[in-house]
C-alpha cells in the first residue's frame, strides 16, 4: 500500500463512483449485512474474519480485516445517517479488537492519519443497475464535524493542477 509520489486528483482520491450490475436492494444488503460484507470488504488478498453491524443511527460497527500476512486491522465507527436503500453516513476509525478507537500508529503505520474519518455512501438506481458513490474524508480534530463532510475537495481540482507543476 505504499503511496506513490504522483499527486492524484480529488476525484480519484476522495470520491469513488462505481456502477454495479445488480439491483440496488442487493447492493444495499452487501453493505449492511455482515455475512455479505465479510465476503468483499478489504483489498485484494485480504479477508474479513469479523464483522458486527448495528444498523441504526448512533449504532456502532466493528470490523476486522486480515492481511495476507495474517495481520489484523480492526476498524470501528458510528452510523450518523441511514436511509435504506439509498444512503449511509458513518464515521471510520482504527480500533483494537474490543472496539476502542486507536491511532494508526497502533498498527505500526506512520501516524499520518486523522483519528476519525467520515464515510458517505449513496446508492442510485441506474438503468437497472446501481450507481454507488463513496466519499471518504478526514475529520479534522476540533472543527465542526458536520462541515467536514461538506467536501473540501472542489478547489482541490485546481490545486491538483498546481501540484502537477510543483
Amino acid at each position: 500500500m505504499a503511496a506513490n509520489n504522483v499527486p492524484t486528483t480529488s476525484e480519484e482520491a476522495l470520491v469513488i463512483e462505481r456502477v454495479f450490475d445488480a439491483p440496488r436492494e442487493l447492493v444495499w444488503r452487501a453493505w449492511t449485512e455482515p455475512e455479505h460484507f465479510m465476503r468483499w470488504w478489504g483489498p485484494k488478498g485480504f479477508t474479513t474474519p469479523f464483522c458486527k453491524i448495528d444498523l441504526r443511527v448512533g449504532g456502532v460497527y466493528l470490523n476486522c480485516m486480515r492481511s495476507p500476512e495474517g495481520q489484523d486491522y480492526w476498524s470501528t465507527g458510528v452510523y450518523r445517517e441511514i436511509v435504506a436503500p439509498e444512503k449511509i453516513v458513518c464515521t471510520d476509525s482504527f480500533a483494537d479488537e474490543k472496539g476502542n478507537i486507536v491511532p494508526a500508529s497502533h498498527y505500526g503505520m506512520s501516524g499520518d492519519w486523522p483519528l476519525e474519518m467520515l464515510v458517505t455512501v449513496t446508492f442510485e438506481e441506474y438503468e437497472g443497475k446501481t450507481k454507488m458513490t463513496l466519499k471518504h474524508v478526514g475529520l479534522p480534530a476540533g472543527e465542526n464535524r458536520d462541515m467536514a463532510g461538506a467536501g473540501w475537495n472542489e478547489s482541490f481540482d485546481k490545486l491538483a493542477d498546481y501540484l502537477a507543476k510543483a
Binding site: 476522495l14 444488503r29 483489498p43 492519519w113 467536514a148 490545486l159
Partner: protein, 126 residues
C-alpha cells in the same frame, strides 16, 4: 508527517473561505488586500484565515516586501493527497471484490430461480 500536521492540513482545508484563498493562490502570489477583494470580509478577518493556512504550512508569506505576498506551499497538500491515495486503493480493490461477489450472488439467484440467499452464505462455503 505527524498526525498533528495532517490534522492541521485538514482543519485548514475544512473552511470554504480558506479553500477559496488557496484556489486564488494557485494562479500566483498575492497580497492580503488582493486576496480579500472577492470576499465581503475585513482585512483582519482575512489575515486570521491566512494565519491558519500559514500555520498548517499550506502557504508561505514573503518577508522581502512590506506587502508580504502570500504563496502556495505544495508540500502538505501533496502529503494529504498521498494519504487519500491509500484509501482510494483500499476501496477500489474492495469494490472489485464486491463486483465479483454480486455477480456470484446473481448467478446463484438465476440457478435456483429464487431471491438472493440470505442465510446460506453464513457458513462461508466457497
Amino acid at each position: 508527517m505527524s498526525p498533528d500536521r495532517l490534522n492541521s492540513t485538514f482543519a485548514a482545508l475544512a473552511d470554504p473561505t480558506r479553500r477559496a484563498i488557496l484556489a486564488r493562490l494557485t494562479s500566483g502570489e498575492a497580497s492580503v488586500t488582493e486576496i480579500a477583494q472577492p470576499f465581503e470580509m475585513s482585512l483582519p478577518a482575512v489575515s486570521k484565515h491566512l494565519k491558519v493556512l500559514e500555520r498548517a504550512g499550506l502557504i508561505a508569506r514573503g518577508r522581502e516586501a512590506q506587502w508580504r505576498p502570500c504563496r502556495l506551499e505544495a508540500g502538505p497538500l501533496k502529503e494529504a493527497d498521498e494519504w487519500l491515495e491509500r484509501y482510494r486503493r483500499h476501496w477500489e480493490e474492495s469494490f472489485d471484490r464486491l463486483d465479483d461477489y454480486l455477480r456470484e450472488l446473481r448467478e446463484k439467484e438465476k440457478k435456483y430461480g429464487r431471491k438472493t440467499p440470505r442465510k446460506e452464505d453464513k457458513n462461508g462455503r466457497k
